[in-house]
């Protein structure tokens, strides 16, 4: 069935992203918004908009009955959930179906089984997907522990079953350290958590976050859409994502295997729509299943850059009933893409900021993409996530991609909202990143060097600017963003009046 009208159950940049593809495909869009979001840009991109009223997230974007009601009133034939919010709620997928519309996503069963982390691991193991080696439960005694550790291979990590926060945790690199470490971990576990049970798993010195995009048709057709690496994270949230994964470029055999495994999962699960298999990778090319996200991923633009696929279109097509041949959706990745997430937070301490966007200068030029929902005069809402924009670039090689990202970051100006672009400024100039050699400890490990790069530039910026020696600041004025144009913002007018009144700076 060809979808003619689709409701986007989300806000911000992803709502705009989905609306763009719908527009191109000739599908009418229905937007929803909380009253807080009355000035949000996604409203301008939808053909019709419905208010969710005031209140908390639970009252608005997470309110299933309210959204189901809007599906009925708007006569939308399908619902795209975006990411976050209700995108991985089986009950929502069922409610959409109940309202007579197609859920642009996997079956409620797939969402449910992958949402349960233990069940997901059990199913993956059955399908032959490697899991991080470890004991099923706690070890009984030293000899039990020694057998397990020998089987898993050193280094191993001892963890308190009841634990958390590093208490009752020991890294063991050699078998002769095991006994003392086990006793220590058990003692700590007993003291802190009242339960001395300790389990063992493989310890990765420099773990990598590797993932594989998949698209399935729900009948066993479809498969992988290649890999991404998202190892640069803070507080378990991704900051930088790339495709192909630099780690897998160093291990072509692992790459072939991980992609094959992903296609098999799609086939065996009869997985429908877009999803992502997330893995921990190690420096030797080993990979271990973490979890599966049953939705479109934030970082999907890097996959779109290197495959030429519009993933939202693919989602809609399979939701309409398109059948796919089993296997990869495209033959190869072309070139290299990197995305950075510009957040409203300080670059090194990750402290949330906010404010009004007073002026906005976006990078443009060949192979540069911005997914964003901010505009001049927009007040950053602290009620939602801190993403100001996703900036992604493409290059024929990774080197070219990094260089293009540097250039794009040099062009970017977000006035009025402190943000983390300075961190990316430093990362794209840091040697290990430039070589593609980094794991999840990257930001902690290279913090000093990144700060040094940043501080050096900061100190250079003003003096050098004054001497006319910087290229990066000789940037085009804001003409393109309406400063002085017909679309002058209220702020600009107010500010101008202030200047004319002679408010001394």
């Amino acid at each position: 069935m060809a979808i003619q009208k689709l409701l986007i159950a989300n806000r911000g940049e992803i709502a705009i992203r989905v609306a763009r593809t719908c527009k191109r495909m000739g599908i009418k869009t229905v937007g929803i918004f909380s009253e807080l979001d009355r000035k949000s840009l996604h409203l301008d991109y939808c053909d019709e908009v419905f208010s969710l009223g005031d209140g908390t997230l639970g009252d608005t974007y997470l309110n299933i009955p309210k959204i189901a009601d809007i599906i009925g009133r708007s006569r939308a034939q399908a619902v795209h959930p975006g990411y976050g919010f209700l995108s991985e709620r089986a009950a929502f997928a069922e409610a959409v179906k109940g309202a007579g519309a197609i859920f642009v996503g996997p079956s409620a069963d797939s969402i449910r089984s992958m949402g349960d982390k233990l069940e997901a691991k059990r199913l993956m193991k059955l399908m032959g997907v490697p899991l991080l080696p470890g004991t099923e439960g706690g070890v009984k005694d030293f000899s039990d522990a020694k057998t397990a550790a020998d089987r898993i291979g050193y280094p191993v990590l001892l963890k308190a079953s009841a634990g958390g926060g590093g208490k009752g945790m020991r890294i063991v690199r050699k078998s002769d350290e095991l006994q003392a470490a086990l006793e220590g971990a058990a003692r700590e576990a007993k003291n802190y958590f009242g339960d001395g049970t300790v389990y063992i798993e493989k310890y990765l010195e420099n773990p990598h976050h590797i993932e594989v995009q998949v698209v399935g048709d729900g009948y066993g057709g479809g498969g992988h859409v290649f890999d991404r690496e998202c190892s640069i994270q803070r507080r378990h949230q991704k900051l930088v994502e790339e495709s192909p994964a630099p780690l897998l470029n160093r291990h072509p055999k692992s790459k072939a295997k991980i992609l094959e495994v992903a296609t098999q999962v799609v086939e065996k699960m009869k997985y429908a729509n877009a999803g992502t298999l997330e893995f921990l990778g190690d420096d030797e090319g080993g990979f271990y299943f973490l979890e599966m996200n049953t939705r479109l991923q934030v970082e999907h633009p890097v996959t779109e850059w290197v495959t030429g696929l519009d993933l939202v279109e693919r989602q809609i097509r399979v939701a309409e009933g398109e059948r796919l041949p089993t296997g990869a959706l495209v033959d190869a990745q072309r070139g290299h893409s990197i995305e950075v997430r510009v957040y409203a937070e300080t670059p090194f301490d990750y402290l949330p900021t906010g404010g009004r966007v007073q002026a906005l200068q976006l990078p443009v030029g060949p192979f540069v993409r911005v997914d964003s929902s901010i505009y001049t005069g927009y007040d950053i809402l602290t009620d939602y996530d801190p993403t100001l924009m996703k900036l992604s670039v493409w290059g024929a090689t990774r080197e070219e991609s990094v260089a293009r990202l540097r250039g794009a970051l040099d062009e970017l100006r977000i006035l009025g909202v402190q943000n983390n672009q300075g961190l990316f400024w430093a990362i794209t100039r840091e040697k290990n990143f430039q070589k593609g050699e980094y794991g999840t400890p990257y930001l902690e490990k290279h913090r000093e060097e990144l700060k040094r790069l940043y501080d050096t530039e900061l100190a250079r910026l003003m003096p050098a600017a004054a001497l006319g020696a910087v290229e990066s600041l000789r940037s085009p004025v804001l003409a393109a963003n309406g400063a002085g144009g017909a679309g002058m913002s209220a702020w600009e007018l107010a500010s101008r009046r202030g200047q004319l009144r002679g408010d001394a700076p």
Partner: protein, 186 residues
């Protein structure tokens, strides 16, 4: 007015700026902080700083004719500027106390009121010799199809009118020169 430029992370002073005034055509003094935080003055000849329409423009008479442009805005009412750079936002904080006094004691002496934007003079509301109160309207300028009332930032005697009704003006053009309220020449 003298400003210190601070690091967004640490609020540490990075440099200082002087004469950051709308339409100021003046030598621009830049204080560079060395490793020990000691300020070393550097004078840039005939630099011009304008702040209009949300854009801070700094022009230098370098051999290459460099022109630098930062998107900038005021933050709050206490004279703080924010400029956007490739590293994020930098704040320019007005320096208080002795530094401000040394910067010329604006508000007491002669004040040249300059236009911060190009436009057209619609009305002149004062004449030479008038005693002006702070906040009193001086003239009306049309810019971007908007009428903008220009008020005096301080009290004083009108010494000179730089424009006539109907005249097109550029940002930085002298509008009114105010003398001290007691009438003494500077």
């Amino acid at each position: 007015m003298k400003y210190s430029i601070t690091s967004p992370e640490t609020e540490a002073r990075l440099a200082t700026l002087e004469n950051l005034t709308d339409g100021a055509v003046a030598d621009w003094e830049l204080g560079l902080l060395d490793d020990k935080g000691v300020e070393k003055k550097q004078l840039l000849k005939a630099a011009r700083v304008t702040f209009a329409q949300g854009v801070l423009e700094v022009c230098f008479a370098t051999p290459e004719g460099s022109r630098l442009v930062f998107p900038a805005c005021r933050q709050g009412n206490d004279g703080v500027f924010v400029i956007a750079t490739a590293l994020g936002n930098l704040r320019l904080l007005p320096m208080r106390g002795a530094a401000v006094e040394a910067a010329g004691g604006a508000g007491k002496g002669v004040k040249a009121i300059k236009s911060s934007m190009p436009g057209k003079v619609l009305k002149i509301l004062c004449k030479v010799g008038d005693l002006i109160e702070a906040g009193q309207p001086l003239l009306i300028i049309e810019a971007m199809k908007m009428e903008n009332e220009i008020r005096s930032p301080q009290s004083g005697i009108v010494e000179e009118l730089g424009v006539q009704v109907g005249q097109s003006i550029q940002s930085g053009d002298l509008l009114v020169k105010l003398g001290k309220p007691d009438g003494s020449k500077s």
